[in-house]
């Protein structure tokens, strides 16, 4: 038995789970898909005293559309990947999901688990920040919504309080004249990417760039937003040159990657610059395609 001993609870309702969190606080670790937590426990990097397994709480698995698309935290990544509402209304999420590990992992891994884990190398936090999603946090004293910009607070850390559980993620629906792209480079498909990004590009009625959001993975201590690169695009006519400049600014000024076993900081910057150009071009193509083929 690789993990250190712990006490295990599998509540059947959210109320019971929240009661356990209220009683035990930080001692009690929520177990969602377990695809990051159990490996960490196998290595004994994580040794939680108490596990609160959320898998029996059916109410956390629904996907509903009401002006936004709200995905229950315990929805598995493979369920979201196959959901037609996700494909139609949150295409960036739909495009990012197959990049998460392998099908066997996505069959267990959950939307909420990955978001709450806040791994800087993970795809979902990047998507959530690029789309300005909101996170639903619940505790015994009620619920609150946390904006993505406030939610991710550093390396594997979030704005969730010790007695709170992440219960849903609310994704805004894709808007008109808005394109998106998710791109990453990994040594083997399914491995942690050496670099990657989620890009969202919106045009105004005149075809000029109204807004761009560029959020990168694995180059900072969380999802890293390139604000200077995005600002450089504002009001510009979209062009290969503008996209290339944005890539340069993002990789040189917005990020200071640490590098890792497989990619030096310089290589991560190079990849980020190239991927930025490609992602913006892809996002632009998707806007024009939509305009010509409604």
């Amino acid at each position: 038995m690789k993990p250190a001993p712990f006490n295990y609870f599998a509540p059947a309702s959210l109320e019971e789970a929240l009661a356990l969190k209220a009683q035990h606080g930080e001692e009690a670790k929520a177990l969602a898909g377990g695809q990051s937590l159990i490996p960490a426990m196998n290595f004994r990097v994580a040794q939680p005293a108490i596990l609160v397994d959320l898998n029996r709480i059916a109410s956390l698995r629904d996907i509903r559309k009401n002006g936004a698309l709200t995905i229950g935290a315990m929805t598995t990544q493979s369920t979201a990947e196959k959901n037609p509402l996700v494909a139609e209304h949150v295409p960036l999420l739909h495009e990012a999901l197959p990049n998460i590990a392998h099908p066997q992992i996505r069959n267990r891994g959950t939307i909420g688990g990955s978001v709450a884990h806040a791994d800087p190398a993970a795809e979902l936090p990047v998507v959530c920040l690029a789309l300005r999603t909101r996170m639903q946090a619940q505790s015994q004293s009620g619920e609150r919504w946390i904006e993505a910009q406030e939610f991710f607070s550093g390396l594997f850390s979030t704005a969730l309080a010790a007695d709170e559980l992440l219960t849903a993620v609310e994704f805004p629906l894709v808007e008109e004249r808005t394109g998106y792209a998710f791109l990453e480079v990994a040594r083997r498909h399914g491995d942690y990417a050496m670099a990657g990004l989620a890009a969202v590009l919106s045009l105004d009625e005149n075809g000029l760039c109204r807004q761009a959001r560029l959020v990168y993975l694995n180059v900072g201590d969380g999802p890293l937003e390139a604000t200077q690169a995005a600002a450089s695009l504002q009001g510009q006519k979209p062009s290969a040159k503008a996209f290339q400049d944005a890539g340069k600014i993002a990789s040189q000024e917005d990020m200071q990657p640490f590098g890792n076993l497989h990619a030096s900081p310089q290589y991560q910057q190079h990849l980020s610059a190239v991927l930025t150009q490609r992602a913006l071009q892809l996002a632009l193509n998707r806007i024009t395609q939509k305009a010509t083929h409604p």
Binding site: A10, I38, D53, H102, P103
Partner: protein
């Protein structure tokens, strides 16, 4: 400190009931408690895919799931593929005929990955097969024959009455 929990599972159609410590991994439960050693354990952190089994028909890693979490669920391991001792499952036949294994350590995981995959995508291209098994590591570097075997398995399953 950690109490044991009673679990009931069905593995390959046979019901089992045991008392388990919560920290017992599902892969260890299947191998050591139930005694079905076809499910292999490689990396124990979800990378190599040797421990892949079906949980309610879906391929999952049994080394990064707790046995207690399988309570009430239906599991299929590599031992559950062949209908009886004298016959092989069409995917197993294909691996036999195309020599889709070298040392055989990764093979159970690959078979269990392919069972639901070929149901969902009965006529895959070579590229699609390579992508489908990308979560299963073969350290003999024998992928070419594995890919051939998977394509042959798809044909066999399609021509099955």
């Amino acid at each position: 400190m950690s109490q044991t929990h009673s679990i009931q599972v069905r593995i390959n159609g046979t019901p089992y009931a045991h008392e388990v410590e919560p920290r017992l991994l599902l892969a260890d439960y299947i191998r050591q408690v139930v005694g079905l050693s076809g499910t292999h354990i490689g990396c124990e952190h979800g990378v190599c895919g040797a421990c892949t089994i079906l949980l309610d028909g879906q391929a999952v890693r049994s080394c990064i799931m707790l046995a207690v979490q399988a309570d009430g669920h239906e599991l299929t391991t590599v031992e559950g593929l062949a209908q009886d001792e004298k016959s092989l499952h069409p995917i197993q036949e294909a691996f036999w005929e195309a020599h889709g294994l070298q040392c055989g350590f990764c093979t159970p995981g690959i078979l269990m990955t392919l069972v639901p995959y070929l149901e969902e995508n009965p006529n895959p291209t070579e590229t699609e097969v390579r992508d489908a098994i990308s979560g299963n590591l073969c350290r003999c570097t024998g992928y070419q024959h594995i890919v051939d075997a998977a394509l042959l398995a798809a044909e066999k399953l399609q021509s099955k009455p």
